[in-house]
């Protein structure tokens, strides 16, 4: 008999629990502050510092109505996660996203034009290369919070073994080939260079040859220009003619990063994010500018930007926080503690870098050229990467491949 009552008792208990914990103002925290959700992709150390910065901002009297709730999402897969959240209307107020995602968010009408808050008054405090990744169709839809680019890493031990001066890395592409030939010993399995073959990693080649990939109005693909063809021919020749590249771009091959750590590849392109890892591995390495081509030394731009979503009910405090977060003082503190490059120009006057390698990246960033800005950057890579592979494997000429890629980019990517 008693058993029949059991479900009822449980039912009433759960209803009671529901009533006791029900809160229809989920956007307000216990102390009555309105919550602003910030999705980010920082690592442990960065997140710790982020929380400190948030606490400082919230402590200011002007911000007493707001509470920022940082939510970490994995960097790999942050785009689909945000896309899905926006589709079902459950996106955050603002987020930190990869530089290549801003264009898609802006063109799909998902994020706020920062001019609404008078961004032009402060925009010139940011470094131009990372700032320009936010400039979509003439307007700024995000602001940079972290910036990177790639430079040339070289293994000093292998340099010494080949009787080369470890303090004199190659400065031009001609010197690079000469040096790499001396460093290559295919019988021992060591190579002068190990490279990736995606578009982003190929941008330093295109940029040092002065090739522009997309026209300023975003309507024409310029991949078939003479400069671009020469750049790709040069890149392919490192593998196929000079035999100084290990084939690191192939499926299943040792990646440039692992090959460098294991002493297989004497030189690679790499970003500052691996400086701590390489230093900890007791590797004797140096960092140099990307060798100069006809257009001098140049690199690509990486990093992340912060955007504010149109779905946010309170975009203004989000913007206020982001300008505070990227202000000269906070950036200086952030970058000193985490050994990163500030996005705010004024931060550079506030502290000096002890890390010589990081100084090279600062120097490199000055000549970095803004990346191609398109609605679907993944699709751009999907179209261009196979064509570049066909050139390296000798199945197509660079002119053929890039002509083909250019037509496909215009039909599939620029039409979006």
């Amino acid at each position: 008999m008693n058993k029949n009552y059991l479900p009822w008792i449980f039912g009433i208990f759960y209803l009671f629990l529901l009533a006791a914990t029900w809160n229809d103002r989920v956007d307000v925290n216990a102390s009555g502050r309105t919550i602003l959700q910030f999705w980010h992709t920082y690592n442990d150390d960065e997140e710790k510092l982020l929380k400190e910065v948030i606490a400082e901002w919230e402590a200011q009297p002007a911000n007493s109505n707001w509470a920022i709730r940082p939510i970490r999402i994995p960097f790999d897969g942050h785009k689909p996660k945000i896309r899905t959240a926006l589709t079902v209307g459950l996106g955050p107020d603002f987020a930190r996203v990869d530089w290549s995602f801003v264009c898609e968010l802006a063109r799909k009408n998902a994020c706020v034009d920062l001019e609404t808050f008078g961004f032009s008054k402060i925009s010139d405090q940011y470094l131009s290369a990372p700032l320009n990744t936010n400039r979509i169709d003439g307007k700024y839809y995000g602001l940079p919070d972290q910036t990177t680019c790639v430079a040339l890493f070289y293994n000093k031990t292998i340099f010494r073994d080949a009787n080369l001066d470890p303090e004199k890395p190659p400065k031009t592409w001609d010197e690079f080939i000469e040096t790499a030939k001396k460093l290559t010993n295919s019988e021992k399995g060591t190579y002068g260079f190990g490279m990736d073959n995606t578009l982003w990693w190929t941008l330093p080649f295109f940029n040092t040859f002065g090739a522009k990939l997309i026209s300023d109005d975003g309507k024409k693909c310029l991949l078939d220009s003479e400069a671009a063809v020469k750049a790709l021919e040069f890149k392919a020749s490192l593998f196929s003619v000079h035999k100084i590249e290990a084939g690191a771009w192939r499926a299943g091959a040792i990646s440039p990063e692992s090959g460098f750590v294991n002493g297989r590849y004497a030189m690679i392109f790499m970003g500052p994010w691996n400086l701590p890892k390489f230093t900890n591995s007791k590797l004797d390495f140096g960092v140099a500018l990307i060798p100069a081509g006809p257009a001098g030394s140049s690199s690509n731009v990486g990093g992340t930007n912060a955007v504010i979503f149109k779905s946010s009910k309170n975009p203004r405090p989000c913007y206020d926080f982001l300008t505070f977060f990227t202000s000269a003082e906070i950036q200086a503190r952030w970058c000193k503690r985490l050994n990163q490059m500030p996005v705010n120009r004024k931060s550079y006057d506030l502290f000096s870098f002890d890390d010589k390698n990081l100084q090279v990246f600062m120097e490199q960033l000055k000549t970095s050229v803004s990346n191609p800005i398109v609605t679907s950057y993944e699709m751009l890579e999907d179209v261009v990467n196979p064509e570049m592979e066909a050139v390296i494997t000798g199945q197509k000429t660079a002119a053929d491949a890039l002509g083909n890629a250019s037509r496909k980019v215009e039909a599939k990517v620029l039409s979006l």
């Binding site: 799909k108 192939r250 499926a251 091959a253 592979e389 199945q395």
Partner: protein, 314 residues
Amino acid sequence: MQNTRETTNSLLFLAPFLILFAIFLIFPIGYSFYLSFFGSPRDFSLANLEYVGFANYSNLLGFSVGPTGISLNDPAFWWSLGVTLLYGGLSIPLGITASLALALLLHNKLAGKDFFRSAFFLPNVLDMLVVGVIWGLIYAPKYGALAQVMNFFLGPDQFFNTTGLLANPYTAMPAVVLAMVLKGAGFGMILFLAALQNIPDAVYEAADIDGATHWEQFWHITLPLLRPILFFMVVTGIIGSLNAFTEIYAMTAGGPQVVVAGETLGSTSVVGYYLYKQFEAGRYGYAAAISYVLLALTLMLTFLQQRLFAGKKN
């Protein structure tokens, strides 16, 4: 009255499954069909999709006849169908042969046969992605197991060490097939073993008395009695090939590239992988159209198979 009550009760008990089934299977199946008539979204909501009628299907399957001959609207799709055909054409017969060979070898009184049966079945338990990654490492040039073994016999300057099976457009697909056949053979083996054990010894004894050789016994008794399993293996093999995705994603990502008539195409870009790339690029309607073309193909092939096997029986 009793009947209605019983039906209601059964439905109530079935409800948890039925509700989940409806939400996560029936609804997406219907919704993706609906989506296949719409273009790519211009924003992130699925509410403002542009109705395009059969445009997705005609972009996918259509062709135009010009002065230079027939040109396909989406050559990459047809290529991926061809790659899938190659994948199925290699993996289904090889898979069946390997499963059957293992089953015949282990259908005896060999000492430790239980150990071998479990050992051969074990790769089936592992996830496809895990198996793919492991085989990727085995095939890898320079540090991979295969490269190391070949170095021992042939020295360092050979194909397995310099390029690797997965980096050459002509060897990548066979390499994937080999990995998948070895992964899947254990499952087929169990099915064949069960069927073999159901064949009465009396049939073989009668054949012995009639003077049939072992080969004749296999050809005229074993194989015909295994036909239902063969049919099952072929049908699931075809469906598996049309659905193939994980192994390609894990091992080759559709590459390496091969140039055919001026077009750069992925030598292992099977249709399931091609579909995924469309979906990833946000072309939901187009991806949905591909999945429905695949469904039609699967149904057609299964129907043909059924007719073919049924015909043989009569």
